[in-house]
Symmetry: C2
């Protein structure tokens, strides 16, 4: 069969993945035939994973982080809710998530048998009174979003942590920074373990971290939180496994290590500044054309350019998706340059 050619990134505007950093790509290629899920056999990559978790700890404000590299943010989010459910003893467990939470929480609730309680938003971030009202003694976890998928907005993480602390049922507090985690350190937002009593956090090297897919990250405040995930592993050289998947990608782990080495912190800071400047430039350009724009507080622009225009630019090969409200979503990943945006705006002007 013909494998064909992978898509170019030159017209990809809505993906949360990107072209990997050259060092990340090189490391992935070298470690393609490794499996950190079998650490007794694949020791080098298992050691590397521990180092990556340490480094991610620096980014998220934890000096002694626990965690592992997951297949992506979905696995990390499922696992955070799974450990929260397993340590609680509710027979009717629920989880409270913002309406802005990624659809992986819907998936997680189905998989884990959790009641999903969706807190409405106040503007683009979660309503605190709504969260306080939804939390009860059967709540095993409360979720905050640090960089929402649709609008790149950050929930009030410290205030959410306070709501969790006041809860009757001892829920865990999980922060989803899958996309935001590699840009938030360079902003004034309060979002991490350093800013609030966070228990678990998702941060994906394969999004703004410029690693290759699959490299998600689940970070926990303390190793003991992960204990409720452990399953015995007969016939491996190791004895138990906390991950959701079994065999895992060493390429993802090695590429995350290489990307962190090359980019943390200066390279990521530069990338954030470049992407944020592009976001603000794009927002201004669209506003100048009369489009309603949701201001980009992180490098993600949503703009009401019209359904017909979205369909028309898609027909020209631009990969552009919509929010639930119908706005176009522009995710300012590293591959989205000023030149790309200029070409897009030219196309937009042509089609409408």
């Amino acid at each position: 069969m013909q494998l064909g050619t992978p898509q170019s990134f030159s017209r990809v505007l809505s993906s949360m993945c990107t072209e990997p950093h050259p060092a990340a790509r090189e490391a992935a290629e070298r470690f393609l035939a490794t499996n950190p899920g079998d650490p007794g056999t694949y020791e080098t990559v298992a050691d590397l994973e521990r180092t990556v978790v340490e480094r991610l700890g620096e980014i998220v404000g934890l000096s002694d982080p626990a965690g592992y590299l997951a297949s992506g943010g979905t696995e990390a989010n499922i696992q955070a809710l799974r450990l929260a459910r397993n340590r609680a003893d509710s027979t009717e467990p629920n989880v409270v998530v913002p309406a802005s939470a990624h659809f992986s929480f819907t998936k997680a609730a189905d998989v884990l048998g959790l009641e999903l309680r969706v807190a409405p938003l106040d503007g683009y971030t979660v309503s605190l009174p709504a969260v306080r009202e939804l939390v009860d003694e059967d709540t095993v976890a409360v979720v905050g979003v640090a960089g929402s998928t649709e609008y790149g907005r950050v929930d009030p993480i410290p205030a959410l942590a306070d709501a969790v602390a006041d809860a009757s049922g001892d829920p865990l507090f999980h922060v989803d920074a899958a996309w935001g985690g590699f840009v938030l350190p360079f902003t004034e937002h309060a979002w991490s373990f350093a800013d609030a009593a966070v228990d678990t956090l998702t941060i994906d090297p394969h999004k703004m971290g410029q690693a290759v897919v699959p490299a998600g990250g689940l970070i926990a405040r303390d190793e003991s939180l992960l204990a409720d995930l452990a399953v015995d592993t007969p016939y491996l050289e190791s004895t138990s496994q906390i991950t959701l998947t079994g065999t895992r990608s060493g390429a993802g782990v090695a590429s995350a290590a290489a990307a962190l080495d090359a980019l943390w912190p200066a390279g990521y800071r530069e990338q954030y500044e470049r992407s944020q400047a592009n976001a603000e430039w794009l927002a201004a350009e669209l506003r100048a054309r009369g489009d309603r724009v949701v201001s980009p507080t992180l490098p993600l622009v949503a703009a009401d350019i019209g359904r017909d225009a979205i369909d028309a630019v898609r027909a020209e090969g631009w990969r552009l998706s919509r929010t639930e409200q119908g706005e176009a979503r522009f995710v300012l990943q590293p591959h989205v340059t000023r030149e790309t945006l200029t070409a897009f705006l030219d196309e937009l002007d042509r089609v409408r």
Copy 2:
């Protein structure tokens, strides 16, 4: 940080992964920056995934297969039980698995809130009377193993299918051929959709299929079985997602496509014959040394070489794991050549 060097495969005897085929490696490298989890954006790799599923259908005896490429056998097994649970309406669902089932079923039962009913073995395969006794109206799935992790044995799949057909509660029948799926087509075993009323089946290209990690496979008899897994996907260009993970590895998909292209069927047959011959040769060599050997019906040898000997060869860098009974496990993956085995036996003779 120093990334170090990935382990060599020259002394890896117990892994179910292997060195990828050169064509699979090349394809993975080309498709590193793709995500079949976002098929609207990454169209080439999404098309490729459909082709791979078609090809896997040929191997497992289905002319119109449904399914997808998972992160591995664990995800595929979890998903098979998840869809079985979701389509049933039991409030106390259970799953019946052989005692020889992979630990991913223990994990799946925890994740999904299923009671795990473990059927004892009769020799090295599941006891049919035990399965019939454990199945009740709350049984949502029965699992058969086609190539067990410890001994490479194949459960009586057609007879298990009959037991499922006789059940009161309409359970699904899932076959775990994660490791065995790429060797069983060249044997006389009855194991696939062609041999029995199987509903879902796990077959992993990244094991004997010689693709890169991560490339597992979940194949279903009919598309409708997967409907109960669907979660809406706002802000993607596509509308719903049946996978457990979200972002997925295009490298795994492309490498599976390339491996299937290069090896199915002649190359896989040759590999099976080579591996099976090596298994039988190793079994004979160990028996000649007085060791008790479990006869390899597939390319997997378990032998009671003694705990001290296992520890001693491990200390020399051999990656060798044990069964729960304490036997050494030799998985005759493509990278395990006659030369490797000769070197191992020399080492074994030296240490004891």
